[in-house]
């Protein structure tokens, strides 16, 4: 640890600090002529092999993700955590290349804390949402080269507005979209989106009215449905007793639902 005498000033954000110290690779430049391998044949498909979903319910925002990590058609890990806590009230759930995604989560986590510590105030929700957008944008050059695609969901709690829980999804270029009810990402997301749309419009209750147990039921059913046709989604491993990771963001902070509880709901309403 060496101390630099030059005063870096308050305007620098954490990724810029890391880059100044050579601890983070520079933003990849986007070369418009560069093409992903074999893109002429359109055989290159971005891999975001997973299923992540999030929706607002009566107790805040529920974020759930399956546990499978694959490489090609090999399952490499069946207990991957794709729903990551960034700070006391923010969750980033990831679909895409784990190495890049976890690095982004780490940068983001430190960015929020670095801002609070240096500026002596919490970063606004808009600032946090934008910070993730910028990381995705900086990474887009790599995505164009066919590596490091990340498509996250971001859920947080806003104390400065009436809305409370806020939910966003992103595209790989860094555009952010705020949603009113639900979001899904990853290869299994089309099925999940269908289920959540159906439930929200014609289900017994709107998603926002669901109790926690009802919300967990919907999340488990949706992930199980996604896994039914998508080999990259783990769903619920009945024999291995591996359940999806489910976290809830509320005014009180983030709660990770214990596996016991998920197993109980699964047994009662899904299996």
């Amino acid at each position: 640890m060496a101390l630099e005498q030059s005063f870096s000033g308050a305007s620098e954000d954490f990724p810029a600090l890391l880059r100044r110290k050579g601890l983070l690779s520079p933003a990849a430049t986007v070369d418009p002529t560069a093409r992903a391998p074999n893109s002429r044949e359109q055989s290159w498909k971005p891999t975001e092999a997973t299923t992540i979903l999030a929706f607002k319910f009566s107790g805040g925002v529920l974020v759930a993700g399956d546990r499978r990590a694959i490489s090609g058609n090999t399952v490499v890990y069946d207990r991957a955590d794709k729903v990551l806590e960034i700070d006391r009230h923010s969750i980033m759930a990831i679909a895409g290349v784990p190495a890049t995604a976890w690095e982004m989560a780490r940068v983001l986590e430190h960015s929020f804390q670095y801002f609070r510590r240096t500026q002596l105030q919490e970063m606004s929700v808009d600032g946090k949402v934008r910070a993730l957008s910028k990381l995705l944008r900086d990474n887009f050059g790599f995505v164009m080269q066919g590596v490091g695609m990340v498509v996250p969901i971001f859920a947080t709690y806003d104390f400065n507005s009436n809305s409370g829980p806020r939910l966003y999804f992103y595209d790989a270029m860094g555009a952010q979209f705020e949603v009113a009810d639900y979001a899904a990402t990853g290869s299994g997301s089309p099925a999940v989106r269908g289920i959540l749309y159906y439930e929200n419009n014609w289900g017994a209750k709107r998603l926002q009215k669901l109790s926690e147990d009802e919300a967990v039921t919907i999340a488990l059913r949706a992930l199980d449905t996604a896994a039914e046709s998508d080999t990259a989604t783990g769903g619920v491993d009945r024999s291995g007793k591996i359940y999806p990771l489910i976290k809830v963001v509320s005014r009180k902070g983030i709660t990770t639902l214990p596996e016991r509880k998920i197993a109980a709901v699964f047994k009662q309403t899904v299996a």
Partner: protein
């Protein structure tokens, strides 16, 4: 002229005197360990003096705001980059103070043509066990006073910072007697407030001994009526990574009234 050794010593002595004069009026800060963490406390009307540096490290400082700001930023930068590249567990106050801050402060202090840092800092790092908590006072010349863990001293679970040496000493001798290790929070809060009052009284007072109980209480109540309370805690709770929490004036006052 400065090249002559005697002149250099004289220049350094002048500089020390100048800095001490500048720091003399700084409101004291007390940091006391208690069962569930470490409490930082001071009273004041103007700017913030207690800061979060990293997950388990807090800092209190008096001096020139510009210099405090530079040192605070440097400490946060170092801790954050270390925590990012390695892990939060690798960020240590001992390394931060001894290897990074102290050499830079000493260097600036002894380069008589350059400006020294007009700042005196108090750091604390909370650990899993109270006996492993670390307290450090870092001076403008890079000198570091620790809470023990050396052969010559018995370990203390408190540290103080004040404008003058005498005020600092009296605060320490008060805490040595009055502060019980592993005290509950409410007791730590009261003793920290009294320690602050003693430090504040002794800055403008020539007395060599601790004040009478009644005089101390009177001074404390007078100051509480006109100044705001600034306090923060580093919690020992292992369930969260970030242990720092600032306490509001109302929150602390409510606890004092009990």
């Amino acid at each position: 002229m400065i090249e002559e050794p005697y002149r250099w010593v004289e220049a350094i002595a002048n500089r020390r005197e100048y800095i001490e004069t500048q720091l003399a009026s700084g409101s004291p800060i007390a940091a006391v360990g208690y069962r569930d963490g470490i409490l930082f406390l001071t009273l004041g009307q103007a700017r913030q003096k207690i800061f979060e540096i990293y997950d388990r490290i807090a800092m209190g400082a008096i001096g020139h705001p510009g210099d405090i700001e530079r040192l605070r930023m440097a400490a946060i930068e170092l801790a954050s980059t270390e925590g990012f590249t390695r892990s939060a567990g690798d960020v240590s106050l001992r390394r931060l103070a001894h290897y990074s801050l102290s050499p830079v402060l000493k260097n600036a202090f002894e380069q008589v043509y350059g400006a020294p840092f007009l700042a005196r800092m108090l750091f604390a790092e909370v650990s899993a066990k109270p006996e492993e908590d670390l307290f450090l006072r870092v001076e403008y010349d890079g000198a570091i006073a620790t809470n023990g863990a050396t052969f010559a001293q018995t370990r203390q679970d408190f540290a103080v910072l004040s404008g003058t040496g005498k005020s600092t000493e009296l605060m320490e001798s008060f805490l040595k007697v009055e502060h019980a290790p592993s005290a509950p929070f409410e007791a730590a809060l009261k003793v920290a407030l009294d320690a602050w009052s003693i430090g504040h009284m002794m800055q403008k007072n020539d007395a060599k001994d601790l004040p009478e109980r009644a005089a101390l209480t009177k001074h404390r109540e007078e100051q509480l009526a006109i100044a705001g309370i600034e306090a923060a805690i580093l919690e020992r709770d292992a369930n969260t990574a970030i242990r720092y929490r600032a306490l509001s004036d109302e929150e602390v006052r409510a606890l004092i009234q009990q």
